[in-house]
Amino acid sequence: MSPAPDGRPIFLEIADQIAADILTGAYPQETPVPSTNELSVHYRVNPATAGKALNLLVDDGVLYKRRGLGMYVATGAPEALRARRRAAFVEEFVLPLRAEAARLGFTDREIVDFILKDSS
C-alpha cells in the first residue's frame, strides 16, 4: 500500500480498507478479520502499522479481541460504520462539490440538475 497523496498515515488507510470490507460484508459480524501478520504481508507494511490499524478499529468498537483467537467483527459494526459515514457525507462529499461548483460559477440549481440527470 502506498502513502496517501495527502500524507495520511498508512494505518488509517488500512483501517479504512478493513472498515469498507466490513461494510460490504466481506467480513461478516462475529467472524475473525485477518491477523496483524496476515495484514502486514498482504498490504506489505510493517506489522506495527497493521497492528495500529486493528487497534484503531478496536477503539472504535468495530472489532473486539477474543483472547487467543484474534480480532472479531462486533455485532452491529456494519450499521455503526454506515451511520458514521452518513454523518460525514455532507462534509466529505457535498461541501467540496459545492466549493468547486462555486469556483466554476455553477448555481445550486445547476448542481441539482446534474445530480438528477445522472441518477435517472
Binding site: P5, V41, N46, P47
Partner: protein, 304 residues
C-alpha cells in the same frame, strides 16, 4: 573510548557518541541512538554520510575511532558470541571466485546458529539463482539476490541489509520486500535496511534514522518522520510569508514561482493561509525529505 552514558539495553543496539575517521576524513562524528530489538529500521541519508560504515562498526567488521557500541549490552568488538548474532553481507562482498552459488550457501549453518535451509532454498528459487554458476560470474542483480538469500536465511537476530536492491528489477525488488516481511513476521528480529529507494521501502520500516554529516539528524517512527517536512509552492512573496522563520531545506525557482521544502509540520493556520492565498501546500514524502536534507548538506559543504 568514552565512558558509557546511555544505559545499555538488555536486547537491542545502543550507540553512544560513535565516531569513525579514515585518515582526516571524519565519516561518523558522534552517532548516538537507542535501538530496541526486533524492529525493522530504515537507515537513510545521502551517499557518503556513513550508513555502511555505521553498519560495519555495529557488526565489528571495522573498528570505531571513539564512542561506544553495545549489542544486547555487550561490546561486539572481537566478541564471537555477539558477532554470531549479526549478519551483514557487504554490498561488494567477494566470495571464493571458484565457489558456485550452492557452495557459497552450504556453510550457512556453520556461521549462523539459526540458519534456515528452507528459506535459503526458497529465496534462491524465487530469485532464480543458478546453483551451479561460479560466484564470480554472477551479474550485479544475482550478487544482490545471493546477499539477500544469505541475510534472510541466516535468521540472525541482527540482520543488516545494505542497499540490497542494487541491480534488481521491479519484480525482484517486489520479491525482496515480500520476503523481508514474511521472514520478519514469522521470525521477528532486528533488521537494519539502508536504501535510497525510500518511497517503495518506507512501509516496511517501523522506525527511521536519517544520517546527515556523520550524525543522526532524525530518529523517529516512520509516520512521524513523514510529517517532518512539507512542500509549498506559489508566488515568491506569499510563499515566504507562509514559511516565516522556519527552516527551508531546499528551494527551486521558476520565474516568480517558488517551490520550497520546509522543515516542520504544516499547521491548520498554514493550510488556511495557503487556501486563502492559493498556494499549493502538500506533505513531502519521506524520500523528498531525505533528499532535501542531502541537498542542504551538499550546498553547505560547497560554501565551506
Amino acid at each position: 573510548m568514552t565512558a558509557t552514558a546511555v544505559p545499555p539495553r538488555e536486547r537491542g543496539i545502543t550507540l553512544h557518541a560513535v565516531t569513525k575517521s579514515f585518515g582526516g576524513n571524519h565519516v561518523l562524528r558522534g552517532v548516538t541512538a537507542d535501538l530496541p530489538a526486533d524492529r525493522i529500521y530504515g537507515l537513510l541519508g545521502a551517499n557518503g554520510v556513513g550508513k555502511t560504515t555505521l553498519m560495519a562498526l555495529i557488526c565489528g567488521h571495522t573498528f570505531r575511532s571513539g564512542g561506544q557500541i553495545l549489542i544486547d549490552g555487550e561490546d561486539p568488538v572481537e566478541n564471537a558470541a555477539v558477532l554470531r548474532r549479526t549478519c551483514f553481507v557487504h554490498e561488494d562482498q567477494r566470495y571464493n571466485d571458484n565457489f558456485t552459488v550452492a557452495q557459497v550457501l552450504a556453510p550457512g549453518p556453520a556461521y549462523f546458529p539459526n540458519w534456515s535451509a528452507e528459506t535459503a532454498e526458497r529465496l534462491a528459487r524465487r530469485f532464480r539463482l543458478p546453483p551451479k554458476t561460479a560466484s564470480k560470474k554472477l551479474s550485479r542483480g544475482q550478487r544482490s539476490a545471493l546477499a539477500i538469500t544469505i541475510s534472510l536465511a541466516s535468521r540472525a537476530p541482527y540482520t543488516f541489509l545494505d542497499e540490497p536492491y542494487l541491480g534488481l528489477d521491479a519484480s525482484a525488488r517486489s520479491i525482496l520486500y515480500d520476503e523481508v516481511l514474511t521472514e520478519y513476521v514469522a521470525h521477528p528480529r532486528t533488521i537494519v535496511l539502508s536504501t535510497h529507494l525510500i518511497d517503495e521501502a518506507a512501509d516496511l520500516m517501523e522506525d527511521v534514522l536519517i544520517l546527515e554529516d556523520g550524525v543522526v539528524a532524525v530518529h523517529a517512527e516512520v509516520d512521524l518522520a513523514r510529517r517532518e517536512s512539507f512542500i509549498v509552492r506559489g508566488p515568491q512573496e506569499q510563499v515566504r510569508a507562509l514559511i516565516g522563520a522556519r527552516e527551508v531545506l531546499t528551494e527551486r525557482h521558476l520565474g516568480n514561482l517558488l517551490t520550497a521544502t520546509v522543515r516542520g509540520q504544516a499547521s491548520d493556520a498554514d493550510r488556511a493561509l495557503a487556501h486563502q492565498t492559493r498556494l499549493a501546500l502538500e506533505p513531502a514524502t519521506l524520500q523528498e525529505f531525505v533528499a532535501a536534507i542531502g541537498v542542504r548538506s551538499h550546498d553547505r559543504s560547497d560554501i565551506a
